[in-house]
Amino acid sequence: MLSVPFNLRIDRTLLILLMMMAGASLVVLYSASNQDLAVVIKQATRFSVAFIMMLAIAQISPHTYKRWAPLMYVGGLILLILVLILGTTGKGAQRWINIGGFQFQPSEIMKLALPLMVAWWLSLNENALRFKHWSIAFVLVAVATLLIAKQPDLGTSILIAASGLFVLYFAGLSWKVIGAGIATVAASLPALWMVMHDYQKQRVLTFLNPESDPLGSGYHIIQSKIAIGSGGIEGKGWLAGTQSQLNFLPEQHTDFIFSVISEEFGLFGVIALLSLYFAILLRGLWITLNTQMFFARCVAGSITLTFFTYIFVNIGMVSGLLPVVGVPLPLISYGGTSMLTLMAGFGILMGIYNHQQRQDRQNHV
C-alpha cells in the first residue's frame, strides 16, 4: 500500500484512482501518438507536476480558498477581458494570453475560480438564501460564461457554466427553478443558434448529419464512429487500431483519444475506462455527501459533477451523440492546461476531504 509521509494529508482512494487514470493515459497515448515516446514522456512529466501540485493544494484548508475566492474571480475576469483585447488567436478563437513568453488560458483559472466564487457568495447567507442572493449568483455565472463564449470557446463555456450551476444545485436551489431553468434552456436553443459563430453552427449541422460533408467538417465524426464501431467487443489490440495507427482518425491523441481506446481495446476497454471514471465520481460524491461545511460541500459537488461533464461531453461528442465541442477526455487526452486544472480541482477535493476528516476526529475527541 501507498506509504505516506507522516504529516502529508491525502485521500488515498482518490490518489490511487487518479494514478490508475494517469497510467491508462500514458499507455493509450503511446499508441495514439503513433508510438512517439517523446509525447508519452512529456505527458508523464506533466502528470508528475500535476500530482505534486494536487498534493500541495490538498494541504490547504477550504477556509483559505473561501478567503481568496473573490480575488481569484475578479482576477480571472480581468484576464478574460485582456484575452479579448490582446489575446492570440488559434483556430479562429482567442483563448490564449502571453505573459512573459508563457502562454496560458485564463479560462482555465475561471474553471476553479467561478465555483469557488459562487460558493463563497452563497455561503455568506447560507442559512437565509433569498431570491436576490440566487440572482446575483446567476449573474456571477453568466458574466464568466459569456466572456469565454465570446472568445469564442463553446466547450469551455459549457464547462464553466456547468461548474457554477452545480454549486447552485448543491447550495439548494429550488427544484422549481431548476425545472424552469431546464425548460427555458430548451426553449431558447433557437435563440442560441442565432448568436453562434459560423464554425459552431457548422459543427451542429455536421453533428445532425455528418454524412452531408464526409470530407469536410463531417470527416472527424465519421472517422471517429468508424474507429469505435470497428473496435467491436474485444478491440483490435494495443497499437493495432487501423483507424488510429494509419492516421485516419483526426486529433487522435487529444480530443478523439476515446476513439483510440474503443478501437484498440473494444467494449472491454470502454467498460474498464467508464468504471474507473465512475469510481472517481463516486468518491467525489461520497466526499460531497460527508462534508459539513456549506462552502466546501458546494465546491466538492461542483468539482465532481464538472469532471463528469467533461466525460459525458467528450464521449458523447466522439461517439456522435453530441455536437463536436472541443472538450478533451479528462486525464486521458494529451495536453497540459486542462489536466493541470482538473488535478488542481482534485487537490481542492482532497483538501475538503482532509478538512472534514480532521473535524470528524476533533468531534470524536
Binding site: 469505435i228 467491436g232 485516419f248 470502454v270 460524491l285 461517439s319
Partner: protein
C-alpha cells in the same frame, strides 16, 4: 461521521443522473461496437485497404523479321495530392510558366479534382516524355505535394508507316466501354481502335493484376496484403516485311493509291500500302480537335484504308478472269484468230463499244489480245458467255466478297449478276452491261486486297489462299475447281505476254528481269466527282483522269508472290502502276533469303 440531511437527497439525485448518463454512453458504444460493428469494420477496411490495379503491359507488334512496329515507351504523369500541396494555385501558375502545363490542363484539373478521394493523387498532366519528366524531377522539391508517376504508352517507331494495317490505340471511349469487359480494362487507358491493334486487341491487351495494399491516410502504402501479378499482353508478329512496306510507301509517295503484296503459298501480306497516310502516335494520348479535323477534311482522305476499303473498277486487270471463264466453259479457243475492229456492236443495236485503241487490234488470239489489252476481243467473249456464266465462274475467286483477312472493316467489292441487279436496283440486266463487264468496267468493283488475292488464286492454278496479316494465324487455302490445267496455263501465258512480248502493254517492264513476270495492266474510268468534294480548278483535271492499275505475279512458272497496284488518277496502268508492281516484285526477290 454525520450525514447532513439537505445534501443527501441532492447527492442521490446527482448519482442517479450520473448512472443514467453513463448507461447512455455505454449504450451508445454498445450500439456502435456490437450492433453496427460489421458496418464500421467494413468502413475501416475501406479506409485502409486500397485495391491497386496493376495494368498489363500491352503486347508489341513486330514485322516478320522481328522489326518493332508498335512498342511501349515510358511516359510520365504529373500528379498532385491536394492535401499536401499548400500552394496549389501558385504552383500551377509556375508550372505553366515553365511550359510543363497549359491553361487547358489547369481547367481540366479544376474540373476533375473533386472526383478524387482525400489524399489520392490527381493527374495534372499526362503524357510527359522523359525530357519533360527530367525537367520537373530536377525542381520537384519546389513543388510540395506534386509527384511524377511512371507508366507506359504505345508508340509507333515508323510513325506514319503501316498505319493502315497496324491501326492505333486511343483512349477508351463510351462506345468502347459497351463492348469490353470493364474488369479487364481497369487501370488501362487505351484500346486498339483500328487495324491489327483492334483485331488482336484481346491478345495484345493481356489481363490486369491487382494489389491489395494497406495505406495510411496519406495514401502511402504501409504493406502489401495480397497480390496477383498481371498477365502481360502477347506480342504479335506480322506477315509484313517492313522493308517492302517502306518501298511501297515511297513509290506511292505524293499519290493516292494502294499496293498489296502477297505471298502466293501462305497468303502472307508482305506489304499493305495505302497512301496518303497519317501518324498513329497522334492518337495515343488523344488527338487534338484541330489535328483531327485537318486529317478528316484532307481531300486526299488519309484515313481511308485504300487497300482494304478502297473499291475500284478492276478494269482490264479483270480480263484474265474473263478469259479463264471462257476457256474453262468452252467459249474460247485460245489460238483461234479473231478480228478485232475499232469497236464492238451488239446484234440489233447501233451502240458502239469502242476499243481503247482507235484503229482496233486486227487479227488477235488470246495471247495477243491479253498482251495488248484488246477490248473488242473481251466484249465479244463476254457477250457470248452471258453475265451468269461470267459471274458464276469468277465468283469463287473472291470477287464480291471479303477475303477474310484478319483485319476489320474489309469491303466486299461487287461482282454483278442478274440476281444482284434485281435485288438491289430492281431492274433487269441489260446485254450492254455484260459487254463492259468483260473488260472489268460497269458495276464491277474490287479492293486492291481482293485483286491481289484473286490474281494469286489464278496464278496458283486455282489454289486460293486466304490473305493473313498475323504470322501466327493459320495459313488457310482451298482448291478451286479446275477443269483443265492447260486452260489456266494459257491464261498465265497470256499474262506473261503482257510483259515479255514485244507488243505487250507492259513490255518496258521486261527489261532487266531474269525471271518471267506475268502481269496485267488496267485503267478504270472515273465517273464524275462524288460527294461534293472541294476541288480547285487545277486539281479538277487530274481528278477526272483514269485510275491506273496493275496486277502481277512472279515467277510465272511457279508463282511465289503477287502484287496489285492502284494509283488513283494515275491514267496509265502499264506506265504508272506497272513499274511500281515490278519494283515491288524485284525487291521481294532481292530480299528473299
Amino acid at each position: 461521521m454525520r450525514r447532513y440531511r439537505p445534501q443527501r437527497f441532492r447527492v442521490f439525485v446527482a448519482l442517479l443522473v450520473l448512472i443514467t448518463a453513463f448507461l447512455v454512453l455505454l449504450g451508445r458504444v454498445v450500439y456502435l461496437q456490437i450492433v453496427q460493428h460489421d458496418k464500421y469494420l467494413e468502413l475501416a477496411d475501406n479506409n485502409r485497404i486500397d485495391i491497386r490495379i496493376l495494368p498489363p503491359q500491352r503486347g508489341q507488334i513486330f514485322d516478320r523479321n522481328g522489326v518493332l512496329l508498335a512498342g511501349q515507351k515510358p511516359s510520365y504523369q504529373l500528379v498532385v495530392k491536394k492535401e499536401l500541396a499548400d500552394q496549389l494555385d501558385s504552383d500551377l501558375e509556375r508550372l505553366k510558366t515553365l511550359g510543363l502545363i497549359d491553361n487547358n490542363d489547369i481547367q481540366y484539373f479544376s474540373k476533375i479534382q473533386k472526383r478524387y478521394k482525400k489524399f489520392h493523387p490527381i493527374p495534372v498532366k499526362t503524357g510527359l516524355d522523359e525530357h519533360q519528366a527530367y525537367r520537373f524531377a530536377s525542381i520537384s522539391h519546389q513543388f510540395k505535394g506534386f509527384d511524377l508517376e511512371a507508366s507506359e504508352v504505345r508508340y509507333y517507331p515508323f510513325k506514319a508507316s503501316g498505319v493502315h494495317f497496324l491501326g492505333y490505340v486511343g483512349r477508351i471511349n463510351d462506345q468502347d466501354l459497351k463492348t469490353i469487359d470493364p474488369q479487364r480494362y481497369q487501370g488501362t487507358r487505351v484500346i486498339g481502335k483500328n487495324g491489327v491493334e483492334k483485331y488482336y486487341e484481346s491478345q495484345l491487351h493481356g489481363q490486369p493484376g491487382f494489389q491489395k495494399v494497406e495505406t495510411n491516410v496519406q495514401g502511402r502504402t504501409i504493406r502489401i496484403l495480397e497480390q496477383t501479378p498481371p498477365i502481360n499482353g502477347q506480342d504479335v508478329t506480322l506477315t509484313i516485311d517492313i522493308r517492302l512496306q517502306h518501298l511501297g510507301e515511297e513509290l506511292l509517295k505524293g499519290e493516292r493509291g494502294s499496293i498489296v503484296l502477297m505471298d502466293n503459298e501462305t497468303g502472307d501480306i508482305l506489304a499493305f500500302v495505302s497512301q496518303p497516310t497519317f501518324d498513329p502516335n497522334l492518337f495515343v494520348n488523344g488527338i487534338s480537335g484541330k489535328d483531327y479535323q485537318q486529317l478528316l477534311k484532307d481531300p486526299n482522305k488519309p484515313f481511308l484504308n485504300r487497300a482494304l476499303r478502297g473499291q475500284y473498277p478492276p478494269g482490264s486487270t479483270f480480263k484474265p478472269f474473263v478469259a479463264l471463264a471462257g476457256l474453262e466453259q468452252n467459249y474460247l479457243n485460245p489460238t483461234k484468230k479473231f478480228f478485232a475492229g475499232p469497236y464492238f456492236q451488239l446484234p440489233n443495236s447501233t451502240h458502239k463499244y469502242r476499243d481503247w485503241k482507235k484503229q482496233g487490234h486486227g487479227w488477235v488470239d488470246l495471247n495477243k489480245s491479253m498482251a495488248q489489252s484488246c477490248d473488242v476481243y473481251f466484249y465479244d467473249l463476254a457477250t457470248r458467255m452471258g453475265i451468269t456464266k461470267i459471274h458464276d465462274f469468277i465468283q469463287p475467286f473472291g470477287f464480291g466478297q471479303t477475303t477474310g483477312i484478319d483485319l476489320l472493316g474489309e469491303k466486299k467489292g461487287l461482282l454483278p449478276s442478274r440476281e444482284w441487279k434485281k435485288a438491289v436496283k430492281n431492274q433487269p440486266w441489260y446485254r450492254g452491261e455484260t459487254v463492259i463487264t468483260g473488260i472489268g468496267q460497269g458495276y464491277t468493283l474490287a479492293t486492291p486486297l481482293q485483286l491481289a488475292a484473286s490474281t494469286a488464286a489464278l496464278a496458283n492454278s486455282g489454289f486460293k489462299v486466304k490473305p493473313r496479316i498475323n504470322l501466327q494465324s493459320p495459313s488457310q487455302g482451298e482448291q478451286l475447281t479446275v477443269k483443265n490445267h492447260h486452260n489456266w496455263k494459257k491464261v498465265v501465258e497470256s499474262m506473261v505476254a503482257v510483259v515479255h512480248s514485244p507488243t505487250g502493254t507492259a513490255r518496258k517492264l521486261a527489261k532487266g528481269l531474269d525471271y518471267k513476270m506475268a502481269g496485267k495492266s488496267g485503267t478504270a474510268q472515273v465517273f464524275g466527282i462524288k460527294q461534293g468534294e472541294e476541288y480547285d480548278a487545277e486539281n479538277l483535271k487530274k481528278r477526272l483522269r483514269d485510275h491506273a492499275l496493275f496486277t502481277a505475279f512472279a515467277p510465272a512458272e511457279k508463282p511465289e508472290v503477287t502484287v496489285a497496284v492502284i494509283v488513283e488518277n494515275g491514267e496509265s496502268g502499264s506506265g504508272v502502276a506497272g513499274p511500281i508492281a515490278k519494283a515491288m516484285i524485284e525487291k521481294y526477290f532481292e530480299l528473299k533469303p
